[in-house]
Amino acid sequence: MQPYIKHTSIAALMDRSNVDTDQIIPKNFMKKVERTGFGINLFHNWRYLADNVTPNPEFELNKPAFQGAKILVAGENFGCGSSREHAPWAIADYGFNTIISTSFADIFFSNCFKNSILPIVVTDEQLAELMAEIAGNEGVEFTVDLEAQKVTTPGGLSIAFEVDAFRKESLLEGLDDIAWTLKHEEQISAYENAQKKRLPWLWPSA
């Protein structure tokens, strides 16, 4: 996984709540057996007109000012619905590495960290301020510093955010979490051996 590095990038505004994973990547694009190439279909049904090719000029992320954005600022309960990791794959492939909202659905939140995406939870007031700053100055660049756990803006906002210490370390260093878990091989084997005695019917008979 790529390490997450402090950056200053365009913040795109998506003033919608309950953006679900069916919108992030519609199911017709989930048939592939690869992890890559989903960015072109990110928000497909909103992003393209009926011919499925022409960008919909009404869709916010198609605004010229938001091209190249790495930060997405969106309404509450972002990523609700299906567990599809194709959603964060599409978001990362499109170019976002940070999503700011007041709340995220659990599975999506967890999937983000597996794909070098930082989901940042802010308060209602902070979200309103961030959104207002983008709306008043489209193309504005925010700075995200994971190390310091802070988002800063040219408009003078400085927002501290919480992040789980282990997830922070994983993102900053781009850790392989399977390798981390396998360091605990001894404990896993011990658990399995104990379970074979405690609940033998869960295991194939030798």
């Binding site: 919608r16 709540s17 309950n18 679900d20 069916d22 919108q23 519609p26 199911k27 017709n28 989930m30 048939k31 592939k32 057996v33 690869e34 992890r35 049904n45 009926a50 309404g75 509450e76 309960n77 609700c80 619905g81 299906s82 567990s83 599809r84 990791e85 964060p88 709340s103 995220f104 659905a105 659990d106 599975i107 967890s110 999937n111 597996k114 794909n115 789980d164 210490a165 282990f166 979490d177 399977i178 981390w180 878990t181 396998l182 605990h184 404990q187 896993i188 658990y191 399995e192 379970q195 609940l199 033998p200 019917w201 869960l202 295991w203 194939p204």
Partner: protein
Amino acid sequence: MTRTMYEKIWDANLVHEPEAGSPLLFVDRHLMHEVTSPQAFEGLRLQKRKVRNVHSILGTIDHCVPTKDRFNIVDVIAKKQVETMTANCEENEINLYGMNSNQNGVIHIVVPEHGFVHPGMVVCCGDSHTATHGAFGALAFGIGTSEVEHVMATQTLQQKKAKTMLVKVEGKLPAFSTAKDIALAIIAKTGTAGGTGYVMEFAGNTITDLSMEGRMTLCNMAIEAGARAGLVAPDQVTFDYLEGKEFAPKGKDWPVAVEYWKSLVSDEGAEFDAVIELKAEDIAPQVSWGTSPEQVISVTGVVPSPSDFTNEVKSQACASALKYMALDAGQKITDINIDIVFIGSCTNGRIEDFRAAAELLKGKKVAAGVQAIAVPGSFPVKVQAEEEGLDKIFMDAGWEWRDPGCSMCLAMNGDELKDGQRSASTSNRNFEGRQGKGGRTHLVSPAMAAAASVAGHFVDIRDWK
């Protein structure tokens, strides 16, 4: 110290809690389908890692399967996904109820049919509706594909402990109200983010009166309330369902297992982080009107107006949903006409669901211009229904009787709504485009769907003749 069922399962499955890092939770059962697993197998291959406990996995192929002419997958990309699943399971000697199996069907229907999930287990699958298996008192939840790979390689998950919410439903349900209506009424109350960060335990005499099928329908939709998982305490109904099934404990193990399962229920006086209560008497048959499962109302109601919501976000969401759904505020729910009716999915594709619908369809005909599709959740459900003569009732009424699959729940297999078409659907999500780009979905119970197919619009089945 008293503990909730969730805390007992957590404690029993906790492998290790390092000072720095993440707790590791042991995964007893891993369910798999073709859409969310190929990249995980590829990841294992690239890292030269092996599947740790092959016996813990059960797979099926369900999302991309055509329900007519099932072997003819026209979409070459979908076909490759199905072939990849088959090949991955063969290579790793994983038990797969694949395309040629007479046990094939939707993963969350197939797994319980074989008694693969027991109370107290931690169960996961790259699928959010894994929550279904909470009906057995198992901690069951959806994971992403990276975690599918993690479970295959380590048999564990890095997990944070969730908060607990008790959802108590007491009393007798009105006639024709079902587990689906309870689920929708709960989501209407909590909102789709109300359960975020929580594991919900459903309790109260209305819940214990439900069959296993009903409990599965209810827990299935816990994810639509945002909950990590739903749980129902195991009881005699659970034990009776499991006894004798293929993967259930047998012989001298059975009584030992039952004793263990009984010990898992939440202790008297155990504290939950949140409690919500509903009265069953208040739960009339429900119909969703919007593009989120929380946008739901009784069949006796009218489509709400944005001004009905004091919360600005919900008011805006209402306005945008009315536009997408092409509905007017104040319109009676029973005045909404539908084009397509779908009975099936991991929410409502079980034998009870087809029985309930058939009961209403006897001697009736589908309304002119309405297409009605019945998709059993699995081949065993299909065979059982046919033995009971239900297929004949459906077909005599003008319904299509199809082969199993996820079908129109998420419309990956070619069964889908066309732009502007409106459905009455027993599935679980009414998101924009879920059943096809531009399609409009109304979530209902099987009985409500059956009645709508005949009337051509929603009806209050309680006074329907």
